[in-house]
């Protein structure tokens, strides 16, 4: 068989700078077409001259007229390299290898770390619960539950629509008391439904700072029931049946200028008593399906910011 390199070498053009100059000429020509005809002419001249030189080289190489490359002198000292020499302690090749890898790692890090942070950090930073104005407290008749539907954050649009079940408990020591239950099931976050009639015909729409809030009176005689997996709760949000691991979450509330304002949620292990006299075992907001008390709560020691 033929030595394959023989064929390759015949195809190889000699090293030459003419193509570079030719390329510069072409660039000059193209820039000149936009900038001025003088530049274009100079570019054309450069391209023609160096194009000719390049072509001449290539043709000459094709005829085999190019002298062979000078043979590097080191090739002959083969026997010397066989002598056992003490190895260099810090050879240049090791330095080059390390610096190449190191530089690559630094460049890779500079490119990757910010992108990774951009993908991950926004999910955990600047998380806050907006205050939600859901209208004058006079719209909430005492002792009756109301379905309140509102935008948690009007700038986010419909995606932030949330529902709370709110009951006016009257006053305790002169301060108004409300029960504001979140409709997010404590099992896996589906929307729980009132177990009883919802009086759609008595629906009120209240204009507030949060846009329109719908208030619909209802009578959750059987408490609250989740359509997804059958979790059931009593009227205070205590779990009575099904898979939920704790009671329903509640909203903190405050009253400002006669308006009821919801200010973030908290999680509830259980509630004893009812209405204004209820004793609530509350914890920081925790995801659905996660225990807040008992030994199972040890599985969820740290919560991401809510």
């Amino acid at each position: 068989m033929d030595d394959p390199r023989g064929d390759m070498e015949r195809h190889q053009p000699p090293p030459s700078l003419w193509p570079v100059a030719f390329a510069v000429g072409i660039v000059c020509l193209l820039v000149g077409l936009i900038v001025s005809w003088i530049v274009a002419a100079v570019g054309a001249a450069i391209s023609v001259v160096f194009g000719f030189l390049w072509a001449r080289d290539v043709v000459a190489a094709g005829r085999g007229e190019v002298p062979p490359e000078p043979v590097p002198a080191q090739v002959d000292d083969g026997p010397d390299t066989l002598e056992p020499e003490p190895a260099e302690r810090f050879p240049r090749s090791v330095f080059l290898e390390a610096s190449t890898l190191g530089l690559g790692a630094v460049i890779g890090g500079i490119a990757t770390v910010p992108a990774l942070g951009f993908a991950v950090l926004p999910a955990f930073l600047k998380q806050h619960s907006p205050e939600i104005d859901i209208g004058p407290i006079n719209d909430f008749p005492q002792g009756q539950y109301v379905v309140a539907t509102f935008l948690r954050n009007p700038s986010e649009g419909e995606i932030s629509r949330r529902t709370a079940y709110i009951r006016n408990n009257g006053t305790v020591n002169g301060a108004p008391s409300f029960t504001c239950i979140s409709n997010r099931c404590a099992h896996l976050g589906c929307p729980v439904q009132p177990g009883g009639p919802v009086f759609d015909s008595k629906k009120q729409m209240v204009k507030t700072k949060n846009g329109e809030v719908d208030l619909i009176p209802m009578l959750p005689a059987a408490g609250f029931i989740c359509p997804c997996h059958g979790g059931a709760y009593d009227q205070e949000g205590n779990r009575t049946a099904g898979p939920p691991v704790r009671a329903l979450d509640r909203y903190r509330f405050l009253i400002r200028d006669g308006h009821l304002i919801l200010a973030g949620t908290y999680s509830v292990a259980s509630v004893s008593g009812s209405g204004a006299q209820a004793k609530i075992h509350l914890y920081e907001t925790t995801g659905p399906g996660q225990h807040v008390d008992g030994p199972e709560a040890w599985l969820y020691p740290v919560q991401p910011p809510h």
Binding site: P122, N153, L188, G189, C190, C228, P288, Q303, P304, P305
Partner: protein, 266 residues
Amino acid sequence: MARRKSARRQQLETAAMYPLDWLEERSGLVGGLRYFLFRKVPGDTNWFHTLGSATLTAFLVQLVTGVILAMYYKPDPQNAHDSIDHITNDVTLGWLVRGMHKWGASVFIILMFMHMGRVFLFGAYKYPRELNWIIGVLLLATGLFEGLTGYLLPFDQTAYWATVVAININGTAPFVGPFLASLLRGGAEIGPDTLARFYSLHMLLIPGALIGLITLHLYLVIRLGVTSPPWSDEAAGEGPPPKPSGARAGLVRPRPRAAVRGRPTE
């Protein structure tokens, strides 16, 4: 010998083959492809061995239909559902491409499991193919994640609440769960960015990972060859037959005739 070809015919053949020769000389790709397509496999492979290729085909269908769907889909909460309606009802052949993508997703997952079952029952995960089993398991998990992220995109009630439940199931994982859930949602609550996040995962990050893993998976299939069925008489591949015995874990019926035929009498 065959008849001598006429000079003209030879010339024509050379001209026709020239582009392939050109490519082969510079890349070796033609030889590589030929090796891949015409490599030796055991003589008693059967239809069960095609489940892997079927899975790959299902994936390629998902890839092509997905790219086309992305031309019409709008990943933001206000428009997502309307754009799906538009694809299904207005765009020419949209119903077909969306249907292929929707049903093809289930086909892909089912085929992955069937392929996995075949490999398990044939004992094809054993030495030296353990690594390919591991890559296959990663492919399964990644494929399921692709299914999860794709499920939100139609953005109807089913999609939304199924995703809420799926994210919250992730949230119940011990210790890291709550953080995993926040990472998936892109925040403490599902918001306007959640859909775009799932879309990006579904069509860029996860398919990239799948393509990389499939490449590795195929590389190992080609490098290690295909296994014979466990009932095979034939040794897989060339070279000395593997040592008999437990390598096949009792899946082989005892064959007295093998003793007669295979071993020299002493």
